[in-house]
Structures are given as structure tokens and as C-alpha cells.
Symmetry: C2
Subunit: 131 residues, 2 copies
């Protein structure tokens, strides 16, 4: 379960806005101990990037899903992290989080994420696979 989570290349992050509406986007991520990190990348800040940060500022509860789809449904699986998110304000901590992401994704070596970075404290991990 932890291995599937830590090896996945993409996750889907669900946040909730101040009005109680959910928002779901794909995110690249890195895990260190009981914390999952993601960051806003270096591209011009898109509405969508900011939306996830606004949501976290309004409501820190997040749900992060890693899943595998296969037409052979006996091979389906997913792992979900429910956690509490915090936009990292300390620059040294943000740098460490972004280092983790750059280490995992060679793509980020070309263009290092600018941040902000977000730390999700993992409250619960759930998993499912058939049978």
C-alpha cells in the first residue's frame, strides 16, 4: 500500500472551497515519512494552481488518490491518503520539499518549481483492490 503510493508518478488531489465545493486536479508529489508534498510549478501561475491553494487556506482537509486502471478489472487498485494540508511559509522548509520533488522528477531539473510548496500531513491511508 505504502509502496504503491510512493512509486506512483501522479496523484489526484481533492480540496474543498469555502463554499463547500470540491475541486480535483492531478498533482506530482513526493513523500517523506508521514508527509506528502506537492508544489506549484514554474509556469505562469494558472487559475487552477491558485484555486487549490485558496481552497487549502480556507479548508485544510484534503484527499489524495493514487490508482491503477486496467481493462482486466482483477488488476484494479487504489490507495488514498486523507490528510491535513498546510502551505509552507518557511523558505528553508519549502526548499527541502521542492528538492524532494526535483529528486523524484527529472522533468523538474530543467525548470525547478517555484512554489509555494504544500505539506500534507497524512492522517489516514486507505486502499482497495478486488477480492
Amino acid at each position: 500500500m505504502k509502496q504503491r503510493l510512493s512509486e506512483a508518478r501522479v496523484a489526484r488531489l481533492a480540496t474543498v472551497d469555502a463554499g463547500g465545493k470540491p475541486h480535483v486536479v492531478p498533482v506530482t508529489f513526493a513523500i517523506d515519512g508521514d508527509t506528502l508534498f506537492f508544489a506549484v510549478d514554474a509556469k505562469p501561475k494558472r487559475t487552477n494552481e491558485l484555486k487549490r491553494l485558496r481552497n487549502i487556506a480556507a479548508n485544510p482537509a484534503v484527499s489524495v488518490l493514487v490508482d491503477h486502471y486496467d481493462e482486466e478489472w482483477s488488476r484494479l487498485w487504489w490507495v488514498r491518503v486523507d490528510g491535513t494540508a498546510r502551505i509552507i511559509s518557511d523558505q528553508a522548509e519549502a526548499d527541502r520539499a521542492i528538492d524532494l520533488l526535483v529528486n523524484r522528477y527529472p522533468q523538474y531539473r530543467r525548470e525547478r518549481p517555484q512554489g509555494p510548496a504544500v505539506a500534507i500531513s497524512i492522517d489516514r491511508i486507505s486502499a482497495w483492490s478486488p477480492g
Copy 2:
């Protein structure tokens, strides 16, 4: 955008519980016009299946994501549906929704989903791809 959405085999459904916490799970789905359908399948009802239905009963706002991950990041894309969900109470309507799912997924022909079925009225479609 609509084509990527309608051709995708799996989506991730984000719902929000009565306490404002998000919940995200993979779902199979079918689209008919401006409505996206999914159903609880025939397996013994799992906590997780019920959780998404409880959340929708408490808060009908949902967000549904279809995305493509590729190590070549210029090929990334996602399409998101924000909508309003309703658990279908009319049996004939539920049968039609489940027929749509069975038509899309040969896997369901072996074991037809029992339901309940959920109709998500599509309020907005957003999409992203690089550049």
C-alpha cells in the same frame, strides 16, 4: 475536451462529506448529453461505495477528473467536470443509467451493477494541457 472525457475509461470522483472533508475515488462512468452517470456495482457494498453516496446526499457538489499522465510532460492533459449529483430514485431511470454503463464496459456484462445509480448534471467542463 468532450472527446477526451467521453473516451476515458476511468475518472476520479471527488465528493465532500457533511463535515466539509473531501473524499476521492476512481469511478467508471458514462456520459449522455449533459449528464455523467456512475453506479454502485454488484459486489457486496463496501464502506467506500456507501461513503460517496452519503456525501452526495449531504452535499450534491461533485468534481470529476479525467487525466492522462506521461513522463513526457508536453503530453499531459486533464479534463474536469464540476457538477451537481443526485442519487437516482426512479427505477426506470436507474435502469437506463446502468444500461449506459453496461454498454460502455463489457466487464459489467458478466455482473450488472446493482446500483444505486448517480446522475451528475454537468455544470462546467474545464481542461488543461501544456502550452
